[in-house]
């Protein structure tokens, strides 16, 4: 190091000044943003996927000056893991937390971490819900930790244009009659595949098929006394076997559900059907707006069944429990749930909404004007609930991974099933 040290120091000063200037600029941006709502309340809502609430937040903010709503959205498993972590460490949870049916048993077992919504008049809302939906979010001590949002009653979403190309009927009721059972469904798939070759597949993803079948099973992973019965329950194995058969028959595109490639698949039209809980409609419309009018919805094989559906809870960590509870009540009000159904597809779990004329007569232009209201609502009203346990959601994730391993030829079905059972054992 020699005589150039003054030059170097000048450069050092310049660099430090540059960083300082950038920092100051960032401060100013942050500072002005903070100053704008110094006296206001910000309510945070933590969901997974798309709950279709953005317009409703705006409505609520307009009606309640001083309240700002911020939503965090995460992946299904990551969301619930983070929630469990935030509750256990006593920090980091949002005011309002969405909990899916796969995890509701786990969180209903820790009422100390949630605001008992009975304090804010939830008890009088009970009559709106089917008893089973209400009870899922009631803790052993009677605390109501969450209010139900949607249910995932099932249909089959299919591409009419691809069905026509394959020489299949495109009318929903005809199709419903063609596939009363899942193995008949696969038989239709074989016809489809024979005509269409191998680029376009009948089914998007094995895990979506599996989840729909499991959604119809009762009991599935847990028996009535809370034991994990995944390994011994023939219904679980049957769902698995059927999924494996779809893969073996070459009817499965093998895309990991909710992955980037799956999204792309919608755009490119590389599969013809998706097992469709009501909330799936939102994903399809969001993914491939250009396919509007090419989709329709037929009855699901096996009849009935539920996949998904959620609750909104207020965490004890909230600084504004009263305001948060009020927002939960607003978001789960019949008017809001109707709005979400019409604009996103998530189907309300509340009986008055399901029976309302607005839902019953609702047709979705995206899905060839199918009477989606009637199809989903009527099957929701007939729903028989599944017995739930605390690690349901973890099992579902493990099953999806297991199916993907087979789809990507990394394991044989048998090896993958064994590993799935191992994952189930270590998760529970």
């Amino acid at each position: 190091m020699n005589g150039s040290s003054t030059g170097r120091q000048r450069r050092l000063v310049a660099a430090v000044l540059a960083v300082a200037a950038a920092t100051t600029a960032a401060w100013l941006v942050a500072g002005s943003a903070a100053a704008a709502h110094r006296d206001a309340i910000t309510l945070t809502v933590d969901v997974f996927g798309d709950f279709g609430y953005h317009d409703l937040y705006k409505q609520y903010e307009a009606a309640h000056p001083g309240i700002t709503i911020k939503e965090d959205s995460e992946d299904y498993a990551a969301h619930h893991t983070a929630l469990a972590q935030h509750l256990a460490t006593g920090a980091g949870a949002d005011d309002i937390e969405a909990i899916e049916v796969g995890y509701i048993a786990q969180f209903a077992a820790q009422p100390q971490n949630f605001v008992d919504l009975r304090q804010y008049g939830a008890a009088e809302l009970k009559s709106r819900y089917p008893a089973w939906k209400w009870d899922q979010a009631v803790a052993r001590n009677g605390a109501v930790i969450g209010l139900g949002t949607d249910v995932g009653s099932l249909g089959i979403c299919y591409r009419t244009d691809l069905f026509r190309k394959a020489g299949l009927p495109t009318d929903p009721s005809t199709l419903g009659k063609m596939w009363p059972t899942w193995s008949k469904f696969l038989a239709v798939g074989r016809t489809f595949q024979k005509k269409m070759g191998s680029r376009i597949k009948f089914i998007d993803s094995g895990s979506n098929l599996y989840n729909a079948i499991i959604g119809q099973a009762n009991p599935a992973y847990y028996d009535a006394s809370g034991n994990v019965i995944a390994a011994g329950n023939p219904k679980v194995k049957a769902a698995w076997n059927l999924t494996m058969r779809a893969i073996a028959l070459g009817e499965d595109k093998g895309l990991a559900a909710f992955s980037n490639d799956w999204n792309t698949g919608f755009k490119k039209g590389t599969f013809a059907t998706v097992t469709c809980p009501a909330w799936m409609m939102g994903y399809i419309q969001g993914q491939a707006p250009a396919t509007k009018g090419k989709w329709n919805i037929a009855p699901v094989p096996g009849g009935g069944g539920n996949w998904g559906g959620s609750f909104l809870a207020v965490s004890k960590q909230s600084q504004h429990p009263a305001e948060a509870a009020d927002l939960v009540k607003f978001l789960t009000s019949p008017a809001s749930e109707l709005y979400v159904f019409q604009h996103t597809g998530n189907l309300s779990s509340e009986i008055p909404v399901l029976k309302s004329k607005a839902v019953q007569s609702f047709r979705n232009p995206f899905f060839s004007n199918a009477p989606v209201g009637k199809i989903f609502a009527n099957s929701a009203l007939k729903l028989k609930p599944q017995i739930l346990g605390p690690h349901q959601g973890d099992f579902q994730t493990a099953a999806s991974n297991a199916i993907q391993r087979v789809e990507q030829h990394k394991q044989s079905p048998d090896a993958s099933w064994k590993q799935f059972l191992k994952d189930v054992a270590s998760a529970s």
Binding site: R8, A15, A26, A78
Partner: protein, 297 residues
């Protein structure tokens, strides 16, 4: 490392020595090096390309290879609470605060301890320095689990305190400072200051610190870079509401149901930019520091 009077004669002599030792680079060497440079720069360029288009352009075939006009728009979206669910401005501020505090602390504490180890006599000096060396080898990161429990206990989860505290000192820094003070500050200078009645603190302040400014700058830059770029620990203790830049962009990338690459890579680009500027201005010094450290290490 004293300045040599630069005459034409010395320069000639130096060049002749160089010529003896180094062959001048042939065209193949240039070709290869240019290829290396291209590979080094391309991913950053690519992030700029993606960040300056709409997300739809990511799905174009053949891919777009030239920057588009959407960069500012995408950067603005980063700071828009409606478009992303992380507070990106806060993330930048947090990263700047964390990196500055950690850098200042590391440089200062390292110089202080390095001074003691290099120039002061005290019982246990060798043993303690050996301990510092030992900690260089132990991957401290692996105390993650108890450190997390500790932070929970202090109530520091979700606060940048949890990110700063464990990084305030660095064994590498102490080592580097000790070496450069031992070799760079003559004992006579310290002795003279002592005769003048300086106590150890004033020796440190008036003799040592000015003497090690260049190496302190290098340590500072490297620390700043590493802290700015750190991920695992901040990711464990912070959340999207109060993140560092790295946590923020990883969050933007992982939580969105449909990854918006123009947004994600705009975030990457913005997160790299401050360091890139520093690097462009001070690259020569950083390189010098790394190479010097390499010889000493």
């Amino acid at each position: 490392m004293t300045a040599i009077p630069y005459t034409a004669a010395t320069r000639r002599r130096a060049r002749r020595a160089l010529a003896r030792r180094f062959e001048s680079a042939g065209p193949l060497t240039y070709l290869f090096l240019i290829l290396v440079v291209a590979v080094s720069i391309f991913p950053l360029y690519w992030s700029l390309v993606v960040a300056s288009h709409t997300n739809a352009a990511v799905y174009a075939y053949p891919p777009k290879l030239l920057p588009g006009g959407n960069l500012l728009h995408n950067i603005r979206r980063l700071f828009d609470a409606g478009a992303v669910n992380v507070d990106f401005a806060k993330a930048l501020v947090n990263s700047a605060v964390v990196s500055s505090v950690v850098t200042a602390a590391v440089v200062f504490f390292s110089a202080l301890a390095g001074f003691a180890f290099a120039k002061l006599d005290f019982r246990g000096r060798k043993l303690l320095f050996l301990l510092v060396l030992a900690t260089l080898i132990v991957p401290v990161q692996l105390g993650l689990v108890p450190l997390y429990i500790e932070m929970k206990h202090f109530g520091w989860l979700n606060s940048i305190k949890a990110v700063m505290a464990p990084n305030l000192v660095s064994a590498f820094g102490v080592f580097l400072m000790r070496q450069s003070i031992a070799g760079g500050v003559p004992d006579e200078l310290i002795g003279a200051a002592r005769v003048d009645g300086c106590n150890t603190w004033r020796v440190f302040w008036h003799v040592i610190l000015p003497g090690i400014r260049p190496i302190a700058a290098v340590l500072g830059l490297l620390t700043f870079m590493n802290t700015w770029n750190d991920f695992l620990w901040p990711y464990i203790v912070l959340n999207a509401r109060n993140p560092t830049v790295q946590v923020a962009i990883s969050d933007i990338a992982t939580v969105a149901y449909v990854p918006d690459y123009s947004l994600i890579l705009a975030g990457c680009f913005v997160s790299i930019l401050p360091l890139l500027l520093v690097f462009l201005v001070l690259g020569k010094q950083i390189i010098g520091g790394i190479m010097q450290g390499a010889i000493k290490g």
